[in-house]
């Protein structure tokens, strides 16, 4: 599904290398977690894959289901099936949440040559999905993320994910700023979307989230590379001992 090969990335503005040869392959139906100390390049990886400006790929490739992601505009990557749940979802005053969602859903359908969703069908689906995420009608009407609490913003990300039905979901520290109940709600939303045709890349600092979203593979990232991969136990090891042992071991 997603195949990242020897990815090297530096900042556009300064000569600072952030990623130093990331290799990663996520198959359909799998959940991969990426953990790692601050500044290891986890968020950069998510931004580069989704096409945010400010980065230069100096080497390597990223392919999603045959699409050369790095050659595509952000909107084309989305239409190809990539979704990034933002660590800090952006507030957009003046754009209603429903308008935003409908525009996004139909833009993707159009890009894929599919028929646009009618207003009625769209509303029916969005209401049903919002309900399971405990997002009320009022929140749907409000401007995108404006005045939302941290938990509401993250639930709104998951709602978008559900509506857009991507093939590959990247969750960038979705657990940050969430209390235990909110985390459970978000995790349930993610788990409901687990499917053999869909891959997940879950970036997190804490093992806690992985209690709820059980990963198949855990990767440890440091200094812009994946330094160790293993099963769910690897996350527990990090939780107990920190990164020092692992980093010493691979150094």
């Amino acid at each position: 599904m997603l195949k990242i090969n020897n990815l090297h990335v530096k900042l556009e503005e300064e000569n600072k290398q952030i990623l130093n040869g990331v290799d990663l392959e996520v198959a359909g139906g799998e959940v991969h977690a990426i953990m790692g100390p601050n500044g290891s390049g986890k968020s950069t990886l998510s931004y580069v894959l989704s096409g945010r400006g400010g980065y230069v790929v100096t080497e390597g490739s990223a392919v999603l289901d045959g699409h050369d992601l790095l050659a595509l505009e952000p909107e084309e990557r989305a239409a190809a099936g990539l979704f990034l749940a933002f660590q800090y979802p952006v507030e957009i005053p003046g754009v209603g949440n429903l308008t935003f969602l409908r525009t996004a859903v139909n833009a993707q359908r159009k890009a894929r040559g599919e028929e646009e969703l009618s207003a009625t069908d769209f509303l029916k689906e969005v209401r049903a999905r919002a309900k399971t995420l405990k997002i009320d009608a009022e929140m749907l009407k409000r401007p995108v993320n404006v005045g939302f609490s941290g938990g509401e913003k993250k639930r709104n990300e998951i709602l978008q994910m559900a509506m857009l039905a991507p093939k590959m979901c990247i969750l960038d520290e979705t657990d940050s700023g969430l209390d235990v109940d909110a985390m459970k709600l978000v995790a349930d939303g993610v788990n409901a979307l687990r499917d053999k045709g869909r891959g997940f890349l879950v970036i997190t600092h804490y093992q806690r989230l992985l209690d709820h979203i059980k990963p198949d593979v855990v990767h440890i990232m440091a200094a812009g590379r994946i330094v160790k991969s293993g099963g769910p136990d690897l996350a527990l090891e990090v939780e107990h001992n920190g990164y020092a042992d692992i980093l010493a071991e691979v150094a």
Binding site: E75, F86, I92, G94
Partner: protein
């Protein structure tokens, strides 16, 4: 004080080409206005309030030629039930207009005021314009009072069932139109006035609005899309106790537009909202100059102006709130913002507050900036193409101004026009 020689000769040159209409009951007001024009002179770039907007093409005797433009859109406000009052190049066209017959309203041409013995209008003509010359001179408004060739007096005594729609048609490439309307809203009466169209190659329009206690007037304007037209407009409004005046202006295209709105809140607890949205591409200069005077207790005023500029377009905002001594519990708000879609466009803003009362809340802000890159990326990451995402953010930016229109159908019509402009300019 004598005028500078250059200013005096430019003024006299302009006046030489104009003929003072005589024989009506506005003669005295016109003569007084002419004396005032001569005393203050027509604007030059050295004048404080014309630093950002070149007045020369408005002053010169003949208007620059302005090509006619077929916009191919459905007529503005065309789907609404409205009373149509049509002016072609600044002259009332009874054939194209509806019968000026609407319950709660009477409408007469300025030229007929004497014959019909319409006292209120005789007394109002030039009155608010003259009062609005202090402390800032507005020479084009005085010029208008003196030389306006046509215009209507609208008397609103009730609550008419539909809006009065003033439609300005541009048919001559060299027309130089001066229109002057006077409007009186009686106590408790309420109406909506719509204005649209490019009017003329050069258009000088003045509107005096007197809203009595408890009266309400909604004014929604859309200035026509003819690229080469020039316009200078003035609205002078006087608001009585607990009256409401809401004014919104949409400007799409036009080489030069100067819209002045001068409001005096004279009765307690009155409310004035003045808003505008403009979108301009290339050779486009748009100037909003607003002056709101609080001269009573507990009044509220809002100024909300948003400009979208690209390809070297220029936006100007000069907005003032004056709170006179004793105008306690004033609530004044002013915001002017420009969205610059490229590095070539510019926004020049001069917000002013002058307050002589000690128990007031006044705030003002002015910003100019580009599209929010984070918001743009967020939308694109959800699959919305860049152009469409930019449009969505542009409409959102204008939203605060458009929201000032109370009637949701009118607001939707305005948004539709902006959407169409955005699509044409991808």
């Amino acid at each position: 004080m004598a005028l500078p020689e250059r200013k005096e000769s430019a003024t006299e040159l302009r006046l030489a080409g104009l003929k003072l209409p005589v024989g009506g009951c506005t003669d005295a007001a016109r003569e007084s206005a002419l004396t005032r024009v001569r005393a203050m002179g027509l604007p030059s770039r050295r004048d404080e309030y014309w630093k950002y907007t070149r007045p020369d093409t408005l002053v010169q005797p003949e208007p620059p030629r302005a090509a006619l433009f077929e916009d191919g859109e459905t007529p503005m406000f065309g789907d609404m039930d409205r009373l149509r009052v049509v002016f072609v190049d600044g002259v009332f066209d009874p054939e194209a207009s509806d019968d000026l017959d609407l319950e709660g309203v009477s409408i007469d041409r300025i030229a007929d005021l004497c014959a019909r013995d319409i006292h209120w209008a005789k007394h109002l003509y030039g009155k608010l314009e003259q009062a609005g010359q202090t402390p800032v001179e507005r020479p084009f408004a005085a010029l208008n009072t003196a030389f306006a060739k046509d215009g209507v007096a609208i008397h609103i005594a009730g609550r008419p069932s539909k809006p009065i729609s003033l439609i300005y048609v541009h048919e001559s490439e060299t027309s130089d139109a001066l229109l002057h309307h006077v409007i009186r809203v009686e106590p408790g009466a309420e109406a909506t006035i719509l204005e649209n169209g490019p009017a003329a190659a050069r258009f000088n329009k003045c509107m005096e609005i007197d809203v009595a206690s408890g009266g309400k007037l909604h004014l929604v304007r859309a200035q026509g899309r003819d690229h080469e037209r020039r316009a200078v407009t003035h609205v002078f409004a006087r608001l009585g106790t607990e009256s409401v005046f809401k004014c919104f202006t949409l400007t799409i295209n036009g080489m030069l537009t100067r819209n002045e709105v001068v409001v005096e809140l004279t009765g307690d607890d009155a409310l004035a909202h003045v808003a505008g949205a403009c979108v301009g591409d290339g050779d486009f200069h748009h100037d909003d100059t607003v002056f709101i005077t609080h001269d009573a207790v507990g009044c509220e005023s809002r100024q909300v102006f948003k400009k979208v500029l690209r390809n070297g377009a220029t936006g100007v905002f000069q907005g003032k709130i004056l709170v006179r001594e004793g105008a306690q519990k004033t609530d004044g708000y002013q915001i002017s913002q420009a969205l610059l879609l490229d590095g070539d466009s510019q926004f020049l803003a001069k917000p002013e507050l002058e307050i002589y009362a000690d128990d007031v809340a006044c705030s003002h802000g002015s910003t100019s900036g580009a599209i929010d890159e984070d918001a743009l990326f967020y939308l694109r990451s959800r699959g919305v193409p860049e152009g469409q995402a930019t449009d969505l953010l542009t409409l959102a930016f204008l939203g605060e101004a458009v929201d000032e229109i109370e009637d949701k159908d009118l607001a939707a019509e305005i948004i539709g026009r902006v959407e169409a402009w955005l699509l044409r300019h991808h």
